[in-house]
Every structure is written in C-alpha cells, then in structure tokens.
C-alpha cells in the first residue's frame, strides 16, 4: 500500500474540501473584482456621457459658425473623485475647433445618448475616451461636430484598490469559514464510520452477535458482509461445539458400561496382576469420563458465553450452596472446608448464574483435588470497594510454580498433578466463564505452599 492510500478518510476529505474552498474563494475574488471593475468603468462611462452631453448643451451658433461655452462645473466634477487628468477636443467638419489639437481622434463616434467609448494611451497616461458626433446647422450650413472627452483612470484605480483590499479580507474570511465547515463536515462524515469501527472493536472475543444494521447506506454492504461472516462463523462454531458435546455424551455412556463391567471384573478377579490391570482400566475410564464431562462443561460455557442469560440472584446463597455440595467430597478426602463471609445475603448480582456457578465449582473442584490431605481449604467471600471477592486457599505439599501463561490453556496440566485425575480443561473453563460474566480470576502461590485463587465479580 502506498502512502496516499493510507491517508485517513477524514484528512482526505479535509484536503479535498479545502482545495474546493480555495478554488471557490479564488473564483469569488476574481469574479467580484471583474464585476467591480465593470461597475467602475460603467460609472466612469456614465460620468463621461453626462460631461459630453453638458458640453453639447453649451454649443451655440454665432453668425455662421459654431462655438462652445465649456461648462466649468462639468470639468470640475470630472476631476473631483480621483483627481483625474482631462483632455478634450472638438472638431468642426474635420477641422480642429478647440481643445487639445495633438490629441488623436478615435475612429468611431457615438451619438449624444450613447457615446463611443475606448481606451487610449496618451502622454504616459491610460485614458478612457468618450466620443460623440453631433450635427449643428448654422445659417443653413451643416456642421459636423466631433467631440471627445478623455479622462485618466485614477478614480477607477483608487476605487478598485480600495474595494480589492476589502475584497481580499472578505475572501479570506469566506475561505477560513469554508475551511471550518470542511473540518466539521469531515468530522460529521467520518463519525458513522468511526462509531461502526468502535462498535466492532469494543466487542469481546466471544461476542458473535450481529453488528448493528443502523449504519449509513454506504456502510450497509460492509455491515451486511460482516454479519454474514459472523453468522457463518457462529454456525461453524456451534456445529463444532455440538459435535464435541455429542461426542463426549456418546463416549460417556459406553464408558460407564466399561467402568461398571471392569469393577465387576475386579471384584471377581483373583490374580493380583489382573486386579492391577483392571484398576488401571478403571482409572483410565474415570479420566476419560472426567474429560468428557469437562468437554461438555466447556461447550456449555462457550454456548452460554455467546448468549448469556442474566438473572438477579443472591451471590452469597449461590456460593454457600456450592460449598455445601462440596462438603461431602471434602470429608471423603479428609479435608476440612471452612467458609467465612462478611457479605449480606440480600446483596445480589445480575449475571448468568450457570456461568458463575460453573467457575466457582471448577475452582473448588481444583482445590479439593490438589489440596494436601488433612488440611483445611479456606473459602472467604467478602465485599470490597468495587467487587465481590471470593478467595479459595488450599495447601500443597509443595506448591508448584504457576506459569500464568500456561495456567488457563486447554489440556495443559500442572507439573505436580501426578496421579490426580484431570483433563486440563478446568481452569480454561473458569477463564471462559469468568470473562463471559465480566469477572476476573487470579491464581497465585503464597507463603507456606498455599495456592490462592481469587475471583473478582463486579457489582
């Protein structure tokens, strides 16, 4: 991918809109300037027309010749605005009558109402000329009077300069405003994309719900494709889980048959060798059976993680019930189970109860399995500032090194599991369940070979 492709949509929009704003501002400036110059030229032409008309008004006949009584105020006014230079010339039947004899006559002449206008360079000055032809009769003699009045363009220049400087400010203001709007537009345009991306980014690893279809039309194909993909992925995942669950279920039934048959055979077996083999078989069957159960549990946790069924329940009761259930198993293993709490039974949480109980059960199961015989498993439940905290402590003969990275991996078992039956799925199930309900788990070794598991459940 080249750099240009990497440019953010917002910056692209911003650059494009700024370019457009600049182009429009420039056009605005140029067009307005042209219009202003045209308006100023029109004003000057109007002034020259009025001047020529007032000169024509002052043409009079003396005997058989014509004369002109130049109007003072007209000439005064012509130079009033921009202190413009003025030149004029009047010819009678092609003969110079008065004015500036060296001023070149233009080729075209208009009439009184509409003089002919042109520009000429004369004596180092650019001049605007109004030229008119007027017929006068004196003693039956036809006099063709050609009148020109030329004015320099200081007036035009000074007004154009004034307006241009104002125009620059106006254009600049327009441009800055356009840039501001471009910025806002870019942000507004990018917002749905940003929201969509955030929505996708913020979902948990097991959240396979459809993304919201409430997106702009342009993003609909993307959302649709994403949803189709999620849907396919979910269905594949479910098929896999169903397959595993069913496989586990199908294995468990024949396994119980194998186990009961083996136990029967063990009772009847006389030779110590056979009894030993049968015990090995029974142990393997137990192992397999437990793995199958854990697989079922795991599949269930994954399934529920996907669509948790939240309910409000007393967390203390839920834990107490589980602890009670484990009392018997603990007695069988010569373990003491103590449960202490400072929480009130009225304190409730709103989450998937099955997932919560599965995680607690698995933790206790682990504690029972690995605890040193004739020790006490201490269960504490209390309410902290932000969480409910459940701590389970059990004593090892020599507590193993706990590799936090490996701890929650599927089918990974600790170093000192030895003869203890287990599948390596327990903690991975706990992890899945805990993250599904938004809780967290920490297992660490403390002084005196005590392993402490801490489950933090938010209110």
């Amino acid at each position: 991918m080249n750099k240009k492709f990497n440019l953010s949509i917002r910056n692209r929009l911003l650059i494009q809109l700024s370019c457009v704003a600049f182009a429009i501002s420039l056009c605005l400036f140029l067009i307005t300037r042209i219009v202003v110059l045209q308006a100023i030229t029109a004003t000057q032409d109007g002034l020259l027309t009025a001047a020529i008309q007032s000169v024509i008004d002052k043409i009079y006949v003396v005997e058989n010749s014509v004369s002109v009584d130049l109007p003072y105020d007209t000439f005064s006014l012509l130079g009033a605005v921009g202190e413009d230079r003025i030149f004029y010339r009047i010819d009678d039947n092609g003969q110079f009558l008065t004015g500036y004899s060296d001023f070149p006559m233009p080729h075209k002449f208009g009439n009184i109402q509409e003089p002919e206008f042109s520009n000429v360079e004369h004596k180092g000055e650019r001049l605007r000329i109004a030229a008119t032809e007027n017929i006068v009769f004196a003693m039956d003699k036809r006099h063709e009077l050609r009148i020109i009045i030329a004015q320099s363009q200081n007036f035009q220049k000074s007004i154009a300069t004034k307006i241009s400087s104002n125009l620059v400010l106006i254009t600049l203001f327009f441009f800055m405003t356009a840039i501001l709007f471009a910025f806002l537009t870019a942000n507004l345009t990018i917002k749905p994309i940003y929201l969509f991306a955030t929505d996708v980014k913020m979902r948990g690893p097991n959240n396979l719900r459809k993304v919201s279809s409430d997106v702009p039309t342009e993003l609909k194909p993307l959302a649709q494709s994403l949803n189709e993909f999620i849907s396919r992925f979910r269905s594949t995942l479910r098929q896999t889980e169903t397959f595993i669950a069913e496989a586990a279920h199908h294995i468990r039934t024949p396994l119980s048959v194998v186990k009961s048959e083996s136990e029967l055979a063990l009772r009847k077996s006389k030779t110590p060798e056979n009894r030993e083999r049968l015990r090995t078989i029974i142990k393997s069957v137990d192992q397999t059976n437990r793995s199958a159960s854990q697989l079922l549990d795991h599949a269930m946790v994954l399934y529920r993680a996907e669509r948790p069924e939240t309910e409000e329940f007393s967390i203390l009761y839920a834990i107490s019930e589980i602890v009670t259930q484990f009392k018997l198993a603990a007695d069988l293993r010569d373990l003491d189970l103590t449960f202490s709490t400072d929480a009130s039974p009225t304190q409730t949480v709103n989450l998937d109860r099955t997932l919560f109980e599965t995680s607690v059960r698995n933790l206790l199961d682990n504690a029972l399995k690995y605890a040193l015989s004739e020790t006490t498993i201490i269960i504490e439940f209390k309410k902290t500032k932000h969480n409910f905290q459940l701590t389970i402590k059990n004593q090892y003969s020599s507590a193993p090194f706990l590799d936090q990275k490996q701890l929650y991996k599927k089918f990974k078992r600790g170093e000192q599991t030895g003869e203890i039956i287990g599948s390596g799925l327990g903690l991975s199930i706990v992890m899945e369940a805990v993250s599904a309900i938004g809780a967290s788990i920490e297992i660490r070794k403390t002084k005196g070979d005590i392993v402490c598991a801490t489950l933090l459940v938010p209110y």
Partner: protein, 341 residues
C-alpha cells in the same frame, strides 16, 4: 507680481519661441557657480524672501537662486521645456493646473509626513503653499468710514450714486494681458452674476486698465485713482502699512482666496533639493513661518474658518475651462463690451 501680455498668445496657440524673460534673480545660501535649488516664481521677492532666508538658515550649504518672471512667461517656458529650474511657483492657478494636467510635472516625494488639507493639492504633483485673499483697495482720504462698501451690491450702489466722483478714477487688471487678473475676473463671473453688473457700472465710469498690482497700488496711494478692484491681499496689506492712504477691503458677499501653487517640472533629473524645499515649505515649520513671519496666509490659516465668505478657488480641472480658446474669447468679448464702452 507681474503678469505679462504673452498669456493670451499662448492660449491662442501661437507658439512663438520667445526666450524666458527673467525679471529678478536673488541668491541665498552657499555661493556656487550652479545653484543647488533653482526656483522660478511669479511671486515678488519682497513677499517670499523671508521664507527663503529661513530655509537657507536651516540649510546653509544649499545654494538657492530665486528667479521671478510673469506667470505667462513661466507657463510658456515650462510648456516648451526651455528652462532648468527645480521648482515652478505661480499664482496663476489655472496655468499651473494646465501644465500639470498636460503632464509637465513630476510627483513629489516628501521626506517626512506632511499633513495637508485635501483642497490644497492636486494629485501628488501640484501643491498650494499659501492663501491670498483677493480684495479691493481704496484711497482712504476720499472715503468716509461709513461709506465704505462691504459687498459688491453696495459697491454698485455706491458707484451709481457717486458717478461724477469716480469717473476715470477706477483701476483694475487688464484681463487681456494679466494672467492673474484674468483668473480673478473669470472666478468672479463664475461665482456671481453681480460681477457683470459691477463690470457694467465700472465700464460706465471709464476705468483704467492696468497690467500690474504694484502700479495700481501706487496710483491709488497717490490719489490718482480712488479704487483698485481685485488686488492680491498680501501686496495690498504690505503696501498699506507703508502707504497710509491705502485701505484694503475684503467683500463680505464673497472674497476669493487664491492659492499660490508649486510643482517640480518634468525635466528635473535630480529632485532631491526640490523635495527637501517642498517638505520644508509644506510641513508645520514652513507653514507656521508663512503664517507668522510673512504677509501670506498659511494653508492652516484660521481666516477660512473664521470667515465663511472667504472662498478658496478650487484647485481642480474646472480651472482648465477658461483657458479654452473659445471660452476665453467669449469671456474677453463680454468683458470688453462691459468694461470698455
């Protein structure tokens, strides 16, 4: 101040190559073969000398030559580019305006910020530097204090009532030969119709027509004439202090204010000395000096605000109109028929 005959010839486009007639030459500052600053002016040295002395005192290293000539001679010399002056000064506003309009002036670059009233300059080329009220001078011994006319209407009535006393006793500019006289008369005609009535009345009294204000003032002082119409204030005031019989009157219907103007001619290559002098002349130092130490009025003079009937002649392209061949001829014809009966 002297206005000579050639104005008319120039306006009539009779381009006779006549050498510039310098009337007086005065030098100030350091003595050099070729002066650093050469001024051609129509203003009498008596009136302008204090300004030159003040500038020279501030800039002793600069050598100045002040040459006087008639306004029409000045016009001709500049329009033919037959001169080597750095500054052109004249009280003939219309001729100065025409020279600048026709492209014979250079833009002025002031060496410091100069605050000028808008009406006192045209573009950045032609600058007015002093104001002059145009008045009437009478022989005081021939008037009772209560009889002195304050308006042109009163003057007309007064002359009508005293025809016998004033016959051949009135003097004014010969507008055909005097550029300043022509300017004053045309501005009068433009300002008010009462001018032509006054001209008719004066014409009936067989007035004497003169070229120059100095001669007119002397004649009035000596009682040769009783009344001189359209005289430049600074000259009249100066003379009236020496010649006690002179009484200057500024009319209350309107009193025109002449603007003495100056520009740098186009053919000047080194404008530094001219720019420096103009900066001095037009900034606060120069203007305050003119106001306090000379008989001229500065551009910032309180006279204008204190006297609403004082009307400066506008420095604009309207001034070109009476220089038009036909317009001028028409005016002179009417003036002649009124004054010369």
């Amino acid at each position: 101040m002297r206005y000579l005959i050639s104005t008319l010839l120039i306006i009539l486009h009779i381009n006779v190559a006549v050498a510039l007639t310098i009337e007086t030459n005065h030098s100030y500052g350091a003595a050099k073969t070729v002066s650093d600053l050469r001024i051609l002016s129509s203003t009498d040295i008596d009136v302008f000398a204090p300004v030159l002395r003040a500038y020279s005192a501030l800039n002793p290293a600069v050598s100045i030559t002040y040459s006087t000539a008639s306004s029409s001679d000045i016009y001709r010399a500049v329009s033919n580019a037959e001169h080597d002056f750095h500054l052109i000064m004249s009280s003939a506003m219309d001729l100065q305006m025409k020279l600048v309009n026709d492209g014979f002036a250079k833009p002025v670059s002031f060496l410091e910020r100069v605050n000028l009233p808008d009406w006192s300059h045209w573009q950045n080329k032609l600058y007015g530097f002093s104001l002059e009220p145009i008045g009437m001078v009478v022989s005081a011994s021939h008037f009772n204090e209560g009889d002195l006319p304050n308006t042109r209407r009163e003057l007309v009535s007064f002359l009508r009532a005293n025809q016998a006393n004033f016959s051949r006793k009135i003097v004014t500019y010969d507008v055909t030969s005097s550029g300043a006289g022509f300017l004053f008369a045309t501005q009068d005609a433009r300002q008010s119709n009462s001018f032509w009535r006054l001209a008719e009345v004066m014409g009936g009294l067989a007035p004497h027509l003169s070229c120059c204000s100095g001669a007119m003032l002397d004649a009035v002082n000596q009682g040769e004439f009783l009344l001189a119409y359209n005289i430049i204030g600074s000259y009249a005031e100066k003379r009236s202090r020496l010649q006690k019989n002179l009484r200057v009157i500024y009319f209350q219907d309107y009193t025109h204010m002449l603007l003495r103007t100056v520009f740098i001619p186009r053919n000047v290559t080194n404008t530094a000395s001219a720019n420096d002098f103009l900066t001095f002349l037009l900034n606060d130092v120069g203007q305050n000096f003119i106001e306090q130490e000379t008989d001229m009025l500065s551009l910032r003079s309180d006279v204008l605000t204190d006297n609403p009937h004082y009307k400066p002649i506008r420095l604009d392209t309207g001034l070109l109109v009476y220089l038009d061949r036909l317009k001028r001829q028409r005016f002179l014809d009417e003036w002649s028929s009124a004054l010369i009966q």
